[in-house]
Amino acid sequence: MALTGVEIFKLLPKTNCKKCGFPTCLAFAMKLAQRQTSLDKCPDVSEEAKRILGEAAAPPVRPITLGTGDKAVKMGEETVLFRHEKKFVNPTVLALEIKDTEDEAVQMEKVQAVLTSEINRVGQLLRVDAICITNASGEVERFETLAKTVAEKAPEVPVIVSTESPDAAKTVMGLFSGKGALLYGVTEANAEQMVPIAKEAKASVGVRADDLEALSALTEKVKSLGVEDIVVDSGARKAPEILEHNTLIRRAAIKKNFKPLGYPVINFVQREDPLYETLLAGLGICKYASVVVMSSAEKWKNLALFTLRQNIYTDPQVPMQVEQKIYKIGEPDENSPLLITTNFSLTYFIVSGEVENSKVPAWLAVMDCEGLSVLTAWAAGKFTGAKIANFIKESGIESQIKHRELIIPGYVAILKGAIEEKLEGWTVTVGPREANGLPSFLRQKVAA
């Protein structure tokens, strides 16, 4: 949590010597609080003050990068508990677990599933971000075989190395040295041996404890051993504990500025039933997980989780609008019907969804009304006969269709006359009031 100007002032020399370029220490403190100047401008500030101010300026949840290159993913840096306050920053990393006890064929299938998981959804490329290799056998050799396979077949995919055995870690980490891997499985018992291994491979450290108290102590220990890039696991595996621990960790970090828990959280949600596992992954996405480790990556599951993650991590402050243009629904041709609506994104989603449902290919003209719904836009004078006529003329749709018929939402039936007056040669047809009337409306229309 950022300090206030007065709090910062208390830490300054209070000599008003002006060397910082401000008339008083207080004035300088105020500017610092607003992040409009930097502390190094004051030559006389104490080491103690530097330390406190430096810590306060650090983000409440430490930023950590998993992987390197194009496929690297960022974690942490979150600043709020509820997405309406401010955008959630770094979307939850989805990781697929591969165990060294699984058949080689299964392991290969999973590597392939990750490599081919990429989907384009409304302009964003989404994928399973990481592979978590788990030393379930407890044997070094089997783990090494799996690690080699992954390093060779998926060299660019960020890797989580999961083992509590320093021997296994030592053998395997070399394969991922300098690749931004995460060495998970560091506990109170093995930290002294494990942390140097992570450090040598320039990896971050994933710690596991059995409760939040122990977890706090453990991160302090790892930090004292020289690694600060930490990802935390409270040991929660059941839904209520995942929710409780993730919430308390996020609150402690953000509201209490409690540094020992100011790290990204990793959740393990593996379950027998992939459908049910998806619900737990969804819990992680909504409630503060920076990494979710899963046991499978079916296509339908990926699609649902990518979508949820994208939705939860969108910027709530960006107005709910879609771009003004003529959208194609299906493969419309020169005879396909033309409908118009406003660019409130929900209106667009609902109307386009219903047109799609009708299975009638159509042109959907979406007009910029500053993100207002049809009725509100009409009431605000943004969805008027003249403006609609203008938009249709300028859109160029006239060169793409043969007919001259525009279907308008039933709520603004009143606009029919005004549009026809401004849009010469066109007929305006009044469509249904609610979008759910569109399928039957459109089907009748093309049948006629």
Binding site: H84, A239, C286, E298, G353
Partner: protein, 313 residues
């Protein structure tokens, strides 16, 4: 640095709402955020209500039509199937056939279906109109009267038609769903207007408008979170009714629950995709505050029930 769990408690509490007569169900009543049993009381689990409708579900996609193929030609059989075979704790009867663009069934037709269904099942009934402003204002008062004394939920009252619907729900002793379009202020305003008519706020259920995963769920999610925070942290009495998420209707009309795997191989199996879409939309909205969920697919319902079981274990 010693760790003190930063638990939070709130001044406000969500009203508990009990529905039904012979068999009753209660939802709401908590004084903490969704599933936050570690720091507050949640006396009741969220309630899932199975959606059926007055006319055969021709526009439902195959995946969700199939489980009801033997019963969905008759709302009475359908309701009984939900109660007996699926163990439904509540049933939602949507009078979609009354919509002028559908079959334009009359209020009398609707009364008959409602009465028949009420006579056939014991679990609490939620009765929804077709979401056509004028038609709902005509149909819902009649069905409210016909089901008088059965402690049903009637919906949905909206800004343009709440007066007649709320008056009827009040006169017949029902609970009422008040729906507004994804805006906390509109939602508050509508609840105020309805309570100003003398309708008790403890009998209201707020519907901030549902959206499916991928189709605006983040708006519903945040409006729900804000309403819930207003109820708990600010203890705003008009924001304290429980919330409903009308999940099935919004989920089973989008592309993700309809497009075949042949058409979109990168989306995987349609059956799992559809069921998951409904279940994940439901759990996500429960995490935002919904206590009443209206759902369609039996497998999605059981997934969500497993999730609730785990949360309350």
């Amino acid at each position: 640095m010693a760790f003190t769990p930063p638990k939070e408690s709130f001044r406000g509490r969500v009203y508990p709402v009990t529905i039904g007569t012979e068999v009753q169900e209660t939802f709401g009543g908590e004084n903490t955020l969704p599933f936050h049993r570690f720091e507050g009381e949640i006396p009741h689990r969220p309630l899932i209500s199975y959606e059926i409708q007055d006319v055969p579900p021709q526009d439902w996609p195959e995946v969700v039509r199939e489980p009801y193929s033997d019963v969905s030609d008759d709302p009475v059989k359908w309701a009984q199937f939900c109660q007996e075979s699926l163990g439904a704790k509540s049933i939602t009867l949507r009078l979609i056939g009354t919509h002028p663009d559908q079959k334009n069934l009359s209020a009398e037709d609707a009364v008959k279906v409602v009465t028949d269904v009420l006579n056939a099942v014991k679990v609490p009934l939620i009765i929804l109109g077709s979401n056509h402003i004028e038609k709902d204002a005509e149909v819902l008062p009649k069905v409210a009267e016909a089901s008088k004394g059965r402690n049903c939920v009637i919906g949905k009252a909206q800004e343009a038609n709440y007066k007649t619907i709320a008056a009827a729900a009040m006169a017949s002793g029902h609970k009422l769903i008040a729906m507004s379009e994804l805006d906390i202020n509109l939602s508050k305003q509508l609840n105020i207007l309805i309570t100003q008519m003398g309708f008790e706020k403890e009998r209201l259920i707020t519907d901030p408008m549902c959206s499916a995963l991928g189709y605006g769920i983040e708006y519903t999610y945040s409006v729900m979170e804000r309403i819930r925070l207003a109820a708990l942290a600010q203890a705003d009495p008009v924001m304290q009714p429980p919330m409903v998420a009308d999940v099935g209707m919004y989920v089973w009309k989008i592309k993700e629950t309809q497009a075949s795997e042949q058409d979109l191989p990168e989306w995987g199996s349609l059956r799992e995709r559809g069921i998951l879409w409904e279940a994940l939309t439901a759990t996500t909205l429960m995490l935002a505050g919904a206590e009443l969920l209206i759902m369609r697919h039996p497998d999605a319902v059981s997934l969500v029930n497993t999730f609730i079981d785990e949360m309350f274990a």
